[in-house]
Symmetry: C2
Subunit: 175 residues, 2 copies
């Protein structure tokens, strides 16, 4: 099973010059979806992971299945305004402007062992914001797992420089 | 394990008079999360489900874990403008105005066996729109599974009237 072959590339989405890596074609392939979760969880099977944290929205898909596989809970990190209870907030930079991630203030306890999951790591800006907001809650972030890495954009190094181990399943050149 | 006790109620969210059923407290309880997926999948374990379809965004969490448990693929139904490839669209009514769901046009093949998943069924408007867009793709919708039912709002009957079997895990009075 070559996971990379199940990912569709859509040129010029969401704008001219971007090669968009469409992971929905991996999700809908039952063999590829199961394999991606098994590979993603493998380094963490012998640890106790308390919660898998998924970043909205595609991170919910891989993160929730990984939580189920690991016997962990699942915690969503969401765009601002979506969570109903008290939250911690963390701003992060986009190409133009900024955005905000939120975490329920009581979702993660101090020292809890967390695996962070998203579908793709590019510049690492979103993952960095998720790590910051999780650390404000006192989380012990054991690792960050992504299906797709775009290594030219430097996200892996940025997250590793924060002291978080990074695992990825598939690499694409360019951005 | 009483799943209902793990769901937090937040009064007056998102507006005065609404008792919001916050399912994130179920998700982050590892025992409750696993139990909810096992119960949700039980009626479908002896069938071949080709794809579990999750409705954005909390439906991704339960839908993806259910897909993994059932050995099925996962297909997202998303808010307008989020999917990168050709889509079918379906409008649906909100309290004020309308919204639109999208499905990738090639995500589901004709006659594929589908389980639709969301966290909650209230009036059933969103689920009805998801069923309509899936049927446009030729899907054979075997069932619709929700964690929470608000029976006073009539969603279950509305979906059953479309010829789709509905299963739910927990009921709350009111809305």
């Amino acid at each position: 099973m070559n996971l990379k072959d199940t990912i569709r590339t859509i040129p010029d989405f969401p704008k001219k010059g971007i090669m968009f890596r469409d992971v929905t074609t991996l999700m809908t392939n039952r063999h590829a979806f199961a394999e991606s979760i098994i590979q993603m969880c493998k380094p963490y099977q012998k640890m106790i992971i308390d919660n898998v944290v998924g970043i909205e929205a595609r991170g919910f898909v891989f993160g929730a299945a990984a939580a189920y596989e690991l016997g962990a809970g699942f915690v969503p990190v969401r765009k601002k305004g979506k969570l109903p209870f008290d939250t911690y907030e963390q701003d992060y930079d986009l190409e133009y402007g900024t955005d905000t991630l939120e975490l329920h203030a009581d979702a993660v306890r101090a020292q809890e062992k967390i695996l962070l999951v998203d579908d793709l790591i590019a510049t690492g800006g979103t993952a960095e914001a998720a790590i910051k907001v999780l650390r404000r809650a006192g989380a012990n972030i054991i690792g960050a797992a992504f299906v797709i890495d775009l290594p030219e954009l430097g996200g892996r190094k940025r997250i590793e420089a924060m002291g978080v181990a990074v695992t990825t399943l598939v690499e694409f050149e360019g951005h």
